[in-house]
Symmetry: C2
C-alpha cells in the first residue's frame, strides 16, 4: 500500500507517549493536492481519523485517497471535513482558500483551530509566481478577518510538503518552523502537535497573525532558493 512508506513506528510511539500533543484526533484536511495528501497520509499513518474535504463530495482524488489510505480515512465536502475535524488543516492553494473556507462554513469552523498552510501565490501571470496578498496584508490575516471565531494558526507554509511531515529528512531536523496566530493557547497546541506528530524540534512563535506577512513574504526567496539549489528539500535554520 502506498501509505506504508509513511508509517514509522517510532513516530507512532512518540505521538502516543506525549500527552495532548500526541492524542489521537479527528482531523479535517482541506485540499486534495500534494500538500493535503502528504499531510493526510502522515496523520492516518499515525492513527488519526482523517477526513479530506473538497469542493464536491465525490472528488476523484479524494475518493482515490480514501480508498488507498484505509479505515481511518474518509472524504466529503469542505463542510463535511470541517464538521468532522476537531483540528483542521488548510492545504488548499492560496487563490482558492477563501472560497474553500466559505464553502466549509463559519458554523463548522467556529471555535476550532485552523492550521493554515496556504500561501498567496498567483500563478496566473507565469513563473515564478507572484504574491496576491502581502506587504500590508497577508492571506493568514484575510482568513482570520473572515472567520473571527476560528483560531487561525499560520505554520508549515515555508517548506515543501515532505519536509512538513518529516523535518528529519533534512539536516537531522535541525532547522526552523515558524508559528503565527492571535490565540496563544492555540499556538501552544499546534506547537505540541507539530513536535509530537511530525517531529519538529525548533519552533519559533513570531507573534500574532500579522506576522504571517513575514513567512508568506519569504516565499519569493524560497522559490529562488529552489531554483538555485535544484531541490525543494531544504529549509532555513536561524543562526545567532
Amino acid at each position: 500500500m502506498t501509505i506504508d512508506i509513511f508509517r514509522d513506528e517510532t513516530d507512532l510511539e512518540r505521538a502516543r507517549a506525549e500527552g495532548e500533543g500526541g492524542r489521537l484526533k479527528k482531523i479535517g484536511i482541506f485540499g486534495t493536492g500534494m500538500v493535503g495528501v502528504t499531510i493526510a497520509n502522515k496523520l492516518v499513518s499515525l492513527g488519526h481519523e482523517v477526513r479530506m474535504g473538497s469542493r464536491t463530495a465525490n472528488n476523484e482524488k479524494a475518493v482515490a485517497w480514501t480508498k488507498a489510505a484505509g479505515a481511518k480515512a474518509s472524504q466529503g465536502t469542505f463542510a463535511d471535513a470541517a464538521g468532522f475535524g476537531e483540528l483542521i488543516f488548510n492545504c488548499t492553494q492560496g487563490a482558492g482558500t477563501l472560497d474553500a473556507l466559505n464553502a466549509a462554513g463559519a458554523v463548522n469552523l467556529k471555535g476550532k483551530i485552523l492550521i493554515d498552510i496556504s500561501n498567496p501565490l498567483d500563478f496566473s501571470k507565469g513563473m515564478p509566481p507572484t504574491l496576491f496578498a502581502g506587504n500590508t496584508d497577508s492571506l493568514g490575516e484575510r482568513i482570520q478577518a473572515a472567520f473571527p471565531d476560528t483560531k487561525v494558526i499560520k505554520t508549515l507554509n515555508t517548506v515543501t510538503a515532505e519536509v512538513m511531515v518529516n523535518p528529519g529528512k533534512i539536516g537531522g531536523g535541525d532547522h526552523q518552523m515558524f508559528i503565527s496566530g492571535n490565540d496563544a493557547a492555540a499556538k501552544a497546541t499546534v506547537g505540541e502537535f507539530l513536535k509530537a506528530q511530525f517531529g519538529w524540534k525548533n519552533l519559533l512563535d513570531l507573534g500574532d497573525i500579522t506576522t504571517a506577512r513575514g513567512t508568506e513574504s519569504y516565499l519569493p526567496l524560497w522559490i529562488r532558493l529552489w531554483g538555485a539549489l535544484k531541490t525543494p528539500d531544504f529549509n532555513i535554520k536561524i543562526v545567532r
Copy 2:
C-alpha cells in the same frame, strides 16, 4: 581610536593572501548611516582607501568619520565617491537610493561594480516598515534598469551591518549570504571579495538581478525575526 575595534590582523593577513579578492582597492561608499560607517570602517581597517559619499561635500557625519578613520579615509559628494571608487558600496536607505545614484552620475558609475545593500523599506507609514518595491519588481532591478552600464550586485542586504563585515560573530560564520546580479564575472569578483575581506564562507548565487526580489522580500520576515529573537545579530543557514 574608534575604528581599532574593527582591526583584526587575521582578517588583514587573509585579505592580503588571497589574490584578487584580497587586493587592496579604492572603494566608494554611498551613505553615512550605520551600514555605510560599519563597512567603511572595516575596509579602512583592512588597508583599503575609502571615500564616503553623501549629498553634500561636507556632510557632518562623513567629515567626522573621515577624521576618526585616518589617512586611508576621505569624504566627498556621491559623485566624488563614485569617481574615486573602483568598487562602490551602496549603503543608502532604499528610499533615497535612486536619488543618490543619480547624484553620483552614470558616467562615474559606468563599467563599475555597484554592491547594492539597500532595501526598499518604507518607514513613512509607521512600524514595521513595508516594501515600496517588490513582488513583480525590486530595488535592485530598478537600479540596474536606471544604470545599465553599471554592474549591480545585490548582496549583504539580508543581515545587520555588524554581521555583514563579521559573519563569524554568529554561529562561527556558518550561515548563508546570497548574491544576485546579471554579470557573472562581477558576481564572482564580489564573492571573492566578501570571502577574502569579510570572511564569508557560504555564498549562494541566486541568479540574475531579478532574484533580488527574493532577498528583498525576505526583509518582512527578517523584521519579524528581529522582533521574536530580540536581537538583530542573526542570519539564516540553508539546511538540506
